[in-house]
Amino acid sequence: MTPRRKNPLALNRPAAQRRAVSKGNRASSVLRYAALCAALGTNGIIFGAAAEPMQLRFASPAPAMSPITVGGIQPWAKEVNEAAPDALAIQVYAGPSVANFNNVYDRVVNAVVDAGFATLGGIGLSVPKTTVVSLPFEEKDSFNESLALWHIYTQGRAWRRV
């Protein structure tokens, strides 16, 4: 029998909240956690009104000119910034200088950045249910896999204990 693995997000959330409360910056911590989850395809973000837009550092370990950054992350950040100019200002740090695919999760948890793009393979052992996408012949289209994974998470189906 495989031993139960602990949910790193659940464990880190109280720790992050404690750090934030001690700094009087709970909203920032919650956003950081939520943004990480969104980047991992696992949750949504809750925004609050603010006089100044909240600066969010977003790490994309993929090279600055890669299709992921150019075609995915940069347009997403631009869209969000334009949709909520008074609330958010997402700054993308592309390339491995701030975070790479091996440490981007730790970089977010340790508040080096507020959110990051990660591939599940790098943290697969921490979120074992997500490895369903790796099972042979279950699905071969990455877009459909992403959509299916997102739906079963957002609907809360079979996902409460990652």
Binding site: P67, G72, W76, T131, V132, P136, F137, N144, L147, W159
Partner: protein
Amino acid sequence: MALAALAADKDVLAQLKAMPDQNFSELAAEESARWKAILAPIAEAWAKETPDGTRVLASFKEEAAKAHVEAR
């Protein structure tokens, strides 16, 4: 994001197919069925070993099927 990755995949595949000395072949239907049968125990083992694995796998299959319909 997934669309960007998918577009990159298609672009690279098209580039490879345009190269000389490259051969591409699709898995025949009967061969695909044979491999699915051989590899089916992997998914079954995963479902047993993963917490809530059976429900996760069933949900994933259901949602992936819906995604195929949405994509069309």
